[in-house]
Symmetry: C2
Subunit: 182 residues, 2 copies
């Protein structure tokens, strides 16, 4: 998980994994048919960890549903900040690294995105009548994800937090415009 996040899937060799794990080839291939199955396991772990490893820490002490959206985005900001903007979202990185069909991999990437969007959609649902009644809360959640992923991409490229902050700032402006107009 650590290696795929830092170097991507293709640039991580099996030898890298063996060294990082302090294990020899025989052990890995005893557990996994091949390298791709390690990735599948990693992606399953991300999915299983969304609630306990991502949302729970991000939302500690934050009960307001709208603020929870931005508290989650702040987690990604912290990841960028603490790595000098070298990595943000590992799912997004692998998603754009994937060029072959690879259905099992893509299905798990999609499941991760879906779970993320589900959680944020629920925040906007919980916001209730603070948003106009006809608000498409699912669409807002998708928009939050595209904003985060796009912001991470630009910040990683420019090696500065600016673009991420600008994108999230615009998202907040949009949500606040919606709320004002209720």
């Amino acid at each position: 998980m650590r290696l795929f996040a830092r170097k991507g899937y293709g640039s991580t060799s099996v030898a890298d994994i063996l060294q990082e794990a302090g294990v020899n080839a025989g052990s890995l291939y005893y557990l996994y048919p091949g390298k791709q199955d390690v990735l599948l396991d990693v992606l399953d772990s991300y999915l299983a960890g969304i609630q306990p490893m991502l949302l729970a820490p991000a939302w500690e002490g934050v009960s307001d549903p709208i603020e929870r959206v931005f508290a989650l985005l702040r987690r990604y900001r912290s990841a960028l900040e603490s790595t000098d903007c070298t990595y943000g979202c590992p799912i997004g990185s692998i998603a754009l690294e994937l060029h072959e069909p690879d259905p099992p991999v893509r299905a798990r990437l999609a499941a991760n995105f879906d779970a993320w969007v589900d959680a944020i959609e629920q925040c906007f649902v919980d916001a209730g009548d603070r948003l106009p009644p006809n608000t498409d809360r699912r669409a807002l959640a998708v928009f939050a994800l595209t904003t985060m992923e796009g912001g991470v991409m630009l910040s990683r490229t420019h090696r500065r937090l600016d673009d991420f902050d600008v994108a999230v700032g615009m998202l907040r402006a949009h949500v606040e415009l919606l709320m004002v107009r209720t």
Copy 2:
């Protein structure tokens, strides 16, 4: 350019390039010191092509500056549509594929993003007083780029246009909310 867009940089071998170009190794290495220099040249070509190859066709018959923003986004939608959502923005793909520092590559990716944002910023500037006077037009342009890149990422992963359309729809909603409030 074609290969890097379809398969990414790492997954494109020099042999692939030679075959696609109908050329032998000696010729390529006579012109380029190595594979990475081919990428640099490709990225320079993208930059040089932004106006004639991307903006000009997108904006043919579209003079309204706000509509030009969405006409450009429609080009990316077409790219997704005509490839069954297998690729969208080649610059974004390479940007997230890049994990080493690689300053010369990153500088060119950044230059491509900057040129894109510059062009869209100019659209929002040209929109003049249709937007509130204190509108941060640069921020709006960055937001348009993150929306496109995030939308492409999700649509590629899900292999459907939905997420791209939702993200762009939200961006349009935001711009229209701004215009209504003038």
